[in-house]
Assembly symmetry: C2
Homo-oligomer: 112 residues x 2
């Protein structure tokens, strides 16, 4: 993730959320989708993305399937059942974090 420098820790949430919504995606596709959805605000770097995908796979949150398309390899990732649960956890954490930061930074929002 570049062009934001901020708030490391959200990449996993982004990956899980995108894969939770689509049947399957491959790495490069994820980088393009994020660029599109954020109007270029967020650019996921490969150095961050691929290790993150490998870790999620190792944790059993994603399954992988390799396919050859146009003579090039693609590794399609698909969310598992426990990945779906973790997605929900991560999204809750994110919502909670945003609420917390707004309470801190914007006096108008107070918690509870």
């Amino acid at each position: 993730m570049s062009n934001s420098k901020l708030y490391k820790g959200s990449l996993t949430t982004i990956i899980l959320k995108l894969l939770n919504e689509s049947d399957k995606m491959y790495g490069y596709e994820i980088t393009q989708k994020v660029k599109e959805l954020t109007k270029g605000e967020l650019k996921i770097t490969e150095g961050a993305l691929y290790p993150a995908l490998h870790k999620l796979e190792a944790q059993g949150l994603l399954d992988v399937e390799v396919k050859k398309v146009d003579n090039r390899l693609r590794k399609y990732y698909k969310i598992t059942e426990s990945g779906e649960k973790e997605t929900s956890n991560k999204l809750n954490e994110l919502a909670n974090y945003i609420a917390t930061m707004q309470a801190l930074v914007n006096p108008k929002f107070s918690l509870e």
Copy 2:
């Protein structure tokens, strides 16, 4: 910062924002204020806080003044002029980050 695990990079923004609002604060006071404002959601650890304060001071964003109160030392931090500018930058970045994440994670929010 503990009890949240989330989103490294926000501590500096929090410190600057709090100091931008009050005349001066000391480290321990900041930890208590954050705990109070977030209803215990966010607990800033000393291991994160003090190095962060030292760095902000070294960058010229904060000034420091040592006082002895009740026979104990307190290091009061006060925001500088360039600290005020940086606060505004950081708050914009935060607002931008939140908008970006909502666009990614919540289909209802789209950028622009």
